[in-house]
């Protein structure tokens, strides 16, 4: 993952939901390139191309609200977006983005200060965003979450975990017993 990401932003408002990001009819694929052809298309035919032409999404509150569909994150990543910055994220989208290796940054101040097409610099390692000479700090991710993102997503992280030493078996004393029907 590059330390410094640079590019232009496309701006969205509050409550951008998963149905708008990628319609259910496209969940037949998990290919980010295929999905990117239809990202945000309910807003207009020109949107997939607009997403491809920008490097960052900047949005308001509750970005990614709605469904647990992971393809909402992979469609955005497939369109070439390098990071999503929002005032706040819906929780399942946040997880899905991390798992798909798409950096998600919470920043309450920036979205009100930017316009469509503005230039941004994002430093993931330092946790900063720079816009029009102003630098904003982003709250650090918990270590366990950061590790998944740094590995490039959940599957690469999982493969590394397995290579490093496997997982405790279900009858290992460290593993809680299942709460099931008797």
């Amino acid at each position: 993952m590059d330390e410094q990401l640079r590019g232009r932003l496309i701006k969205f408002g509050d409550n951008v939901n998963t149905d708008v990001i990628i319609h259910a009819r496209y969940l037949i694929t998990i290919d980010p390139d295929e999905l990117a052809k239809h990202v945000f298309e309910v807003l207009g035919e020109e949107y997939p191309a607009r997403l491809k032409a920008h490097q960052f999404i900047v949005a308001g509150e509750n970005f990614g609200c709605g469904s647990a569909r992971e393809q909402a994150a992979s469609a955005i990543r497939g369109a070439g977006i390098q990071a999503v910055i929002a005032k706040s994220f819906a929780r399942v989208f946040f997880r899905n983005a991390i798992n798909e290796g798409l950096p998600v940054l919470e920043c309450r101040e920036l979205p009100d200060r930017v316009q469509d097409g503005d230039a941004l610099t994002v430093n993931l390692a330092a946790g900063t965003i720079t816009h029009a000479g102003q630098t904003y700090a982003v709250p650090a991710l918990p270590d366990s979450v950061r590790a998944i993102l740094d590995a490039g997503g959940l599957l690469p992280f999982l493969r590394r975990q397995l290579a490093d030493g496997g997982v405790p078996a279900r009858d290992d004393p460290r593993v809680p017993r299942r709460l099931g029907a008797v």
Binding site: Q161, P176, R178
Partner: protein, 437 residues
């Protein structure tokens, strides 16, 4: 340390004596659900390169979002799921003839109070109706749990809603939840564990509690739970489950906020296009013409919901310019509806009955054309969800749906309903009901 419901469940599921809000734990879910998305989990599983599932007993597959395969691609995806289930010994596997995953798994006794349940569906919050902690995740997350048995979870803050009062005739749990989503907003409870208690919650049937825990998702909750009680126990006993231990918050647990709601003055509500939080009383939108009415989804297509619809429609006809689509939540709901005259009342009135499953809510049939308007009993009305980007979806209760189907426009159900129907959770013949009008 006094703990909330979520703290207790996540402590047990991570093998800790106690956990605090904000803490990150490695939690081992007791039940790992994947629906039609299971084929995506399998593709990811193949890419990881292990040959065994960590604990097949915890996995549940239910084919619901697209039940009947519409294309060869979908049929191949379903074949993949069946083959995987057979190879890895996934016993809890419900094929296309069973219905919506959430409803089926609860009906069949797979969900217990105090369990940690994850699923490839945001409305996994619904398992809170039985006192479980249910939350939605993406398909890669499910795959990782298939392999390791665990996932990281941040212990949420909790909020408490105490429900009091009585729902007036023509007013339902759906209206209570729509009002709540409208008041608190789509972001109103993001990341919270939302606990429901109080005399009205206790008076609710398990089916009504399902509606409550389901719609809570539209406020961004991590999970929602209704206090388990004797009704929970009776529901489970009926399904052959005798041994379980209800979990509830300690009296002195810490909450982000607590609120008491009196439902006595509540009136029918409608979520208007194109967001669930865009809620208005029926009076403000009555008369809006519709072309389709959809009675379905994990929010409201259980037996009591169909009984309400039939009570309004019995002896009447669907408006000539309306398509009424009824999709029972499960095979059991369909069977029960067949036993009284619920199903025949719907068909004779002019409804289209489809196979149990997610149906039109998830874009499987019943699409809307340009400029069309649908009144749906589901939980989402996002732009374009049911078809054309130039269509509109309103959300309401099953009784409001039935009244709307008759008049061809958004209609207050109280024009047709003067008594609350006797709702219960038993899989017995439908009750005789009287309706005004």
């Amino acid at each position: 340390m006094p703990m909330s419901f979520a703290q207790k469940v996540l402590a047990r599921a991570s093998g800790a004596a106690a956990v605090a809000p904000g803490q990150i734990v490695d939690a081992y879910p007791d039940l790992v659900m994947s629906h039609t998305a299971t084929w995506r989990c399998i593709r990811q599983f193949d890419r990881v390169g292990v040959d065994r599932v960590w604990d097949p007993e915890r996995l549940a597959f239910v084919l619901d979002h697209t039940a009947l395969a519409r294309t060869a691609v979908e049929a191949n995806n379903q074949s993949l799921v069946r083959a995987f289930a057979a190879k890895h010994g996934i016993r809890t596997f419900y094929d296309i003839n069973e219905g919506i995953a959430h409803i089926v798994l609860m009906e069949r006794g797979h969900v217990l109070p105090g369990q940690l349940v994850i699923g490839t569906d945001s409305h996994s919050t619904i398992y809170g109706a039985l006192g479980a902690l249910g939350t939605g995740v993406g398909f890669s997350e499910i795959t990782a749990v298939w392999v390791t048995g665990k996932l990281w979870m941040k212990v949420p803050d909790s909020a408490r809603l105490t429900l009091t009062g009585r729902l007036a005739p023509g007013v339902y749990a759906k209206d209570l939840m729509l009002k709540l989503v409208g008041d608190l907003g789509a972001n109103g409870c993001t990341y919270y564990s939302l606990e429901f208690d109080g005399p009205l919650a206790a008076a609710m049937s398990i089916s009504e509690r399902m509606t409550v825990a389901n719609l809570a998702m539209e406020m961004g909750v991590k999970n929602a739970v209704v206090r388990p009680d004797e009704k929970t126990a009776a529901y489970l006993r009926e399904r052959g489950v005798e041994a379980f231990a209800p979990v509830w918050a300690d009296a002195d647990a810490a909450y982000a906020w607590t609120r008491t709601i009196d439902a006595s003055t509540l009136s029918p509500m409608v979520a208007c296009p194109h967001e669930v939080e865009n809620v208005h009383p029926i009076e403000e939108v009555a008369g809006t013409k519709v072309q389709q009415v959809f009675v379905g989804s994990c929010a409201n297509a259980k037996l009591d919901d169909l009984v309400e619809v039939a009570a309004v429609l019995r002896g009447r006809r669907v408006h000539p310019s309306v398509r009424l689509v009824v999709t029972p939540a499960s095979k059991q709901v369909l069977l029960d509806a067949m036993r009284g005259d619920v199903l025949s009342a719907l068909v004779e009135a002019g409804a289209v009955i489809t196979n149990p499953g997610c149906g039109a809510c998830a874009g499987d049939g019943g699409a809307l054309g340009d400029g069309e308007v649908c009144l749906s009993t589901a939980n989402r009305n996002f732009l374009g969800r049911m078809g054309s980007p130039r269509s509109s979806i309103y959300l309401g209760s099953p009784a409001l749906a039935a009244a709307t189907a008759i008049t061809g426009a958004l209609t207050d159900p109280r024009e047709f309903v003067s008594e609350r129907s006797a709702v219960n959770d038993q899989s017995s013949a439908s009750r005789e009901l009287t309706a005004n009008g």
